[in-house]
Symmetry: C2
Subunit: 203 residues, 2 copies
């Protein structure tokens, strides 16, 4: 085999549990010889098809309060900075997701997303703001963030993100993070990252 | 300390993920020196307050299909029998939950629930049926299942289950299984059983 096994990592940049996976997936995949394909999409249209007009963590307050506490415990156990929920939750994730698609074309989606997730959930910043996106791109090694942000705003990129979201729905994805192995096996949630990588590794 | 640390295990007898926890919680608790208090309640009224008239696994088909596959993988990994979804899902769980309350009074709630969960999710049987309840009680060591089932049907037992469900909602419980340590710390889902036991053990 000339290609390593691959796992698709489907995420919405506004997802708190996708943040947890983003911070560890590359190291955990590398230790199993698995390559990661980062695939941004939008939960909004998928939630809308389920009749939700915002995050379930907002619609169901007990679930939302629990999620915050759960993430607080998990970041502490993993040595990540204290958790912060951005003032506006969920963030408007279309622009960050389109920027991630452009970053993928330049081979820098993983560092960009680690920077954006950290900005959102360790610093409470607005990841839809141009200043945040520009700084996170620069710190990911982008030589020209302005041009990349312009590309992210083009109609072709918007179409691409729409296609990705439709593809996610077609694959049975209903939340984030989701992981899909090359045989189509679907795993949902940061809690399943290890199982998903183990599955991908043995294909 | 004369009393061991305790973890409350809140479950609805119709919950698939509570099944997974029920089959392992006593062994995992014992290995940490933690005592388990089994606390049956009904998800129905809690879901209803969230605007759901049935299980979210029925309301959201992609989530329901994923749940079945997820449980299939987990039971295989844990050496449990192949998973079966009962013909009627979720089961009507009021009668099983009331029977569990009576079984708790007789110190046999853990074996009763392992029997009922196995009947439901390994054998696809109807756990609201008298024959299933009676057999599961007998196999749990009940000398007189008929008298226990009669007690389960009394108004006092119905009131007790209603109180327990209200108490669950008051504790912030929104799904099952849920685990609550003696300091009030809440953990949701079979995936958090180990964390919940570790938390309880260090109090």
């Amino acid at each position: 085999m000339s290609h390593p096994p691959t796992l698709e990592f489907w995420f919405d940049p506004a997802s708190t549990y996708a943040y947890l996976s983003a911070m560890r997936i590359e190291a955990e995949a590398a230790s199993r010889g698995v390559a990661v394909r980062w695939r941004p999409f939008l939960l909004g249209p998928i939630f809308k098809a389920q009749g939700w007009n915002t995050s379930p963590f907002n619609i169901y307050p007990a679930k939302g309060r629990y999620m915050v506490r759960d993430i607080e415990r998990l970041v502490e156990a993993r040595g990540l900075p204290p958790f912060r929920l951005p003032v506006s939750f969920p963030a408007s994730s279309a622009r960050p997701a389109r920027t991630a698609l452009i970053a993928a074309d330049h081979g820098m989606i993983a560092p960009l997303m680690r920077n954006l997730f950290t900005a959102a959930f360790a610093e409470g910043r607005d990841i839809a703001a141009e200043a945040t996106l520009s700084q996170c791109l620069a710190e990911a090694g982008a030589p020209d963030p302005v041009t990349m942000l312009a590309a992210a705003g083009e109609d072709a990129t918007k179409d691409r993100l729409r296609s990705e979201t439709e593809r996610a729905a077609g694959l049975g994805i209903f939340g984030a993070p989701s992981f899909i192995a090359s045989d189509g096996e679907l795993f949902w949630g940061d809690d399943r990252l290890g199982d998903a990588l183990d599955w991908a590794a043995q294909l």
